[in-house]
């Protein structure tokens, strides 16, 4: 247990110490939120969907949690490169505990990042319909973070070095974001796109937040929760398995 705790704490310390990075990481979400949010608002309203800004805010929060959690998993590559991974892998601690400590730490950091973006959203004018559902939305954030921290570890364990990083970014992370319905409603999509959004775990995370914060769900919060929990289980198991196979 203490091994899990100390590795969780490590992730947190690293996050809070990289202030410049925290500020840098706010840039992209703010562009989406402020430029797209306000820019597309008139068109969205004319189409009868209400405020685009309100609509996109949960999407941008989900995006931040996605990026932050998946990068924390891929942080494995940095630890491999700078050697710290070895230090943990030869320690007399089951690898499962090491993986769980890292993943929980990464997920926690991602939720903190999500909360920071939530704060930015609220300052910019985002108003949830139900304030009482904010804790439930937080639960969805935690689920998203767990799903993608697990996926990040699974992928990070399978890569030898940073060469594959750009590939992962362009063919995994960006598609997950764009296909999630973070930026557009999931209703009435062309068939192929609809199918793609349905296998994207992030769809359910963002839909879940929209359901509880705005009353505008597509699948419904219960289904969102169940699908996310299933994805989380699968990715954590996969991540733990891949992590146990690492050779240096």
């Amino acid at each position: 247990m203490s091994a899990i705790y100390i590795l969780w704490l490590r992730e947190l310390k690293r996050y809070t110490r990289s202030r410049a990075q925290i500020i840098a990481s706010l840039g992209q979400p703010m562009l989406y939120l402020l430029v797209l949010g306000f820019g597309l608002s008139p068109v969205f309203k004319r189409a009868g969907y209400g405020s685009y800004f309100q609509f996109i805010a949960p999407g941008v929060i989900g995006m931040s949690v996605l990026f932050s959690s998946i990068f924390s998993g891929l942080g494995l590559l940095w630890d491999r490169q700078f050697g710290f991974l070895k230090e943990t892998l030869v320690a007399p601690v089951p690898r499962l505990q090491i993986m769980i400590g890292r993943t929980l730490g990464g997920a926690t950091v991602a939720v903190l990042q999500g909360l920071l973006i939530t704060l930015v959203c609220v300052i910019a004018g985002f108003r949830p319909v139900h304030l009482s559902s904010v804790p439930v939305a937080l639960g969805f954030m935690l689920l998203i973070a767990t799903v993608f921290a697990g996926l990040g570890v699974a992928v990070g364990s399978s890569l030898q070095d940073m060469q594959g990083f750009q590939l992962i970014m362009n063919f995994m992370v960006m598609p997950i974001f764009f296909l999630s319905g973070a930026l557009f409603p999931l209703d009435g999509l062309p068939k192929v796109l609809a199918a793609a959004t349905m296998i994207d775990p992030l769809s359910y995370g963002i839909d879940g937040m929209r359901s509880v914060l705005l009353d505008k769900g597509h699948y419904g919060a219960m289904i969102d929760f169940e699908v996310l929990a299933a994805f989380a289980t699968v990715f954590i198991v996969l991540g733990a398995y891949r992590f146990s196979k690492i050779e240096i």
Binding site: A3, R14, S18, G83, V90, I248
Partner: protein
């Protein structure tokens, strides 16, 4: 304490370790010597559960490190050849993580951290992030960390690389100390033959993945009819210079440098 039989490791068509066998007795200091790329680090990696052997058998304190990974890991400590510190954490935090991972009780952890950081003259800088340390300081911290818990077997992979004579002296003094007082078995590699001659009870010389000689420093000198271990080493392994192909870790480091990426 360490038993190696017909150990082989191949990477594709390249045979890094080719059918080596040796024993290291309990309480012995064993120096594993060889030119660059001879297979020293690969052997250590197999002994310390980081790599799976292609074939052959290993026993650490009677345990097979492949099937009893955790039990084996409880028995050894290791100082790596290349860096393995977390640069974003402070010296004290690096020590703490190590102590927790190796189940050193908190009181002893704090007490030994203080002793060791003082011994290696890092105590005044304990609150600083490691990435601000010089190369020598990082090295000293790695070594101090390796001594935080008391293992049955201590692996030192070129521990003196980049250390000044003062720190080297401290290191070997400390190694002898734990070996004599606590009966720790030591398995080390080094390129400094005088160190091996001074510290090691027995020596194994590896070249091109083959064990070409083993015995006490004296026996090896007699066997090769040379005066110093350095001459014996050159006689055994020839005088051509070996190039180690840049490993993936080195390439990655370069890549990171290129992108200015000290992000993590």
């Amino acid at each position: 304490m360490i038993q190696v039989r017909n150990l082989v490791k191949t990477f594709g068509t390249f045979t890094a370790v080719n059918d080596i066998s040796f024993d290291v007795a309990r309480g012995e200091i064993f120096a594993f010597l060889g030119p660059n790329g001879a297979g020293k680090t690969t052997t250590i990696k197999m002994l310390t559960t980081m790599l799976k052997p292609t074939s052959g058998a290993i026993e650490l304190d009677g345990l097979n490190p492949q099937t009893k990974q955790n039990e084996a890991r409880q028995r050894f400590g290791i100082v790596f050849q290349d860096p393995s510190l977390d640069g974003d954490l402070t010296a004290a935090e690096n020590m703490e993580i190590h102590g927790v991972l190796y189940h050193v009780p908190r009181k002893i952890r704090q007490q030994r951290t203080e002793e060791l950081l003082k011994l290696f003259e890092l105590w005044d800088r304990r609150g600083e992030q490691v990435k601000k340390f010089s190369g020598g300081m990082k090295r000293r911290l790695e070594i101090a960390r390796g001594f935080l818990h008391t293992p049955k077997i201590l692996f030192l992979d070129e521990p003196t690389l980049g250390l000044d004579p003062q720190s080297r002296n401290q290191l070997w003094g400390h190694v002898k100390n734990v070996n004599e007082k606590e009966g720790v078995t030591v398995f080390l590699t080094t390129h400094y033959m005088d160190e091996a001659d001074r510290v090691a009870h027995r020596i194994g010389v590896i070249d091109h993945g083959k064990l070409v000689a083993q015995g006490t420093p004296k026996a090896i000198k007699e066997q090769t009819e040379t005066q110093s271990l350095e001459d014996a080493f050159l006689k055994l392994t020839g005088s051509t210079i070996r190039d180690e192909s840049a490993g993936s870790a080195d390439q990655m480091r370069q890549f990171a440098k290129m992108w200015g990426g000290s992000k993590r």
